[in-house]
C-alpha cells in the first residue's frame, strides 16, 4: 500500500530538517507516537498507540535512517510489532523538502506492508487508517510550525 502527500509549512527547510533528525520532535508530529528514543545516529525506537477505527493498537517500533542528504532528502524505514497481536508492519518512508515561497513543502511517500494479524484486519480498514494518520501528520507538522511562529522561544 502506497501513500503520497505533501504539506506546506512556514519555516525554512533547514528548520524542518531538524524535526526529522530529532526523535523527540518527530514524535510530536507522528500520530500515535507516545515516546521515541535515539539508539544511535541512525537508529530509533518508539512506542506507538495507533487508533484504528474501532480499537487502539499498541506497538513497539524500530526505525532506521537509510539515507540523509541534508537538508532536502531522507529515506527511513520502520518495523513495528503490535503488542497484543501476532503480526508486524513495515513503513518505508521517503521525504523530500522543497523550498517554496514563504516556507517549505514536505513531500512524502510511505510504503506500508502489513504482516500476520494486521493483514487480516483488511486492506480497507488499514487504508482508511493510513489516510487519516497521513492527514493528521500533515496537520501536526503545520501546527508545530505555526505554534512556533506564534510563540517564538518555545519549542
Amino acid at each position: 500500500m502506497k501513500l503520497n502527500g505533501a504539506v506546506s509549512v512556514s519555516a525554512p527547510r533547514e528548520e524542518v530538517w531538524q524535526i526529522f533528525m530529532d526523535p523527540a520532535q518527530l514524535c510530536r508530529v507522528v500520530p500515535g507516537c507516545e515516546q521515541a528514543q535515539r539508539l544511535d545516529d541512525t537508529h530509533y525506537e518508539a512506542q506507538l498507540a495507533v487508533k484504528i477505527q474501532f480499537m487502539t493498537i499498541r506497538a513497539r517500533a524500530h526505525g532506521a535512517l537509510l539515507e540523509a542528504h541534508e537538508p532536502d532528502h531522507l529515506v527511513a524505514e520502520m518495523v513495528g510489532e503490535p503488542l497484543a497481536m501476532a503480526g508486524a508492519f513495515r513503513a518505508h518512508l521517503v521525504v523530500d523538502l522543497v523550498p517554496i515561497a514563504g516556507g517549505t513543502e514536505v513531500r512524502y511517500t510511505i510504503e506500508l506492508s502489513m504482516l500476520g494479524r494486521l493483514a487480516s484486519l483488511g486492506e480497507a480498514i488499514i487504508r482508511a487508517t493510513a489516510n487519516r494518520l497521513a492527514s493528521q501528520f500533515a496537520a501536526n507538522v503545520a501546527q508545530l510550525f505555526s505554534a512556533q511562529a506564534q510563540e517564538p522561544g518555545q519549542r
Binding site: 524505514e77 510489532e81 503488542l83 501476532a86 513495515r90 506492508s113 502489513m114 504482516l115 500476520g116
Partner: protein, 314 residues
Amino acid sequence: MRKEQMSVHTLEDMPLMEDLHEGEVYDLAIVGAGLSALSLLHSGAAALGRTVVLDYQEQVGGLLRYLLPADGFEAEWELLRDFQLPAGVRLLLQTTAVGLLPASAAEPTHTLVVRRRQGTAQLRARQVVIACGGVECPREHDAIPGTRPAGVMTPVLALQLLARGYLPGRRALVYGDSRYALATARRLEEAGLEVITAAPTSGNGRSVRLCGTIQEICGFPRLSAVRLRSHDQQSVEVEADTLIYATGLLAGTHWLKGSGVSLTATGTIAVDAHYRTTIPGIYAIGAVIRPQLDHESSLRMGKEVAALLPGGVL
C-alpha cells in the same frame, strides 16, 4: 498397539524468549518442521551453519504426524520415528512465522516475524527455507452446496480428535482416494466408526466403496446425509453423521502476503529447478510448492535442497 514411540521434541526443549537472541543472525532458518524440513535436517543441514527450525505445532512431523504410522507411509514414519535433532540446530516449537521481510537496504539479512507464547519476535537469517506445507482443502473452498451442519471436517481434524480420545461421529463418509484419505478411513474404522469410502472415479487403482462426486451436504444441525452423483448421473444419498472431506491440500502461503515472494496462480510458491524462490537466499520445498495430501515428494525435496544450499553436502 503402537510398536514404537516416535522421537519427541516438545515444548520443554524450547529455549526461553531470552535465549532467542533477537539480534543474532542465523545462517539458515527453516520455516516448518514437517517431513520435508526433517528430511533436509536429516540430510546434513548441520553443515549449513547456525540453523534454526520453527513450527506452529507442539511437535515435529507436520500434519502427517497425526496419521503415522500408517500403511503406505513407511519411509515417512521411519524418518519421524528415528529423527534426531542435529547438534547445533535450534528447534523452536509453538513458534509461528507470521511474516517475512526479505533482505533490504535497511537490513541485509532476511527477517522472519515470529510469534511465540511470550510475544512477537524477529529472527534474522542469511538463508531461509520455507517448508511450511499447507492446510487441507475444506468443503467451503470447493463451494459444495447444501447445509452447514456439525460433522463436516477434513482428515487432520478427525485424526486430532481421535488422538485426544474423542470420536468425531459414528458413521463417516470419507471422500477422497489418496493414500492419506484411505489410511484415515482405516484409522476411523479401528476407532469404532462405521466408514464408507467414496471418491470420483480417478483410476489410481485404489478401491473405494462408492464412486461419485459430492452434490450436496444434507442435514442440520448435525450432518445426516451426503448426496453423491455417480458417473452414470445416478444420485445416491449416503446416510452419515460425519463427512471427512479429503480432496486436497492448499499451500500455506497466506503469511507471505506482501513479502515479495512470488506465488503461482494456484497459491503455491514459485520456484525454479533448484527450489529457489524469486528472492535470492529464500528457498521453498515440500507441500508449499507441491500441495498433495500424500506428500509424495516431500522427503526427496528435503534431501535435494540440502545438497543445493550453499555449504550443503551431497
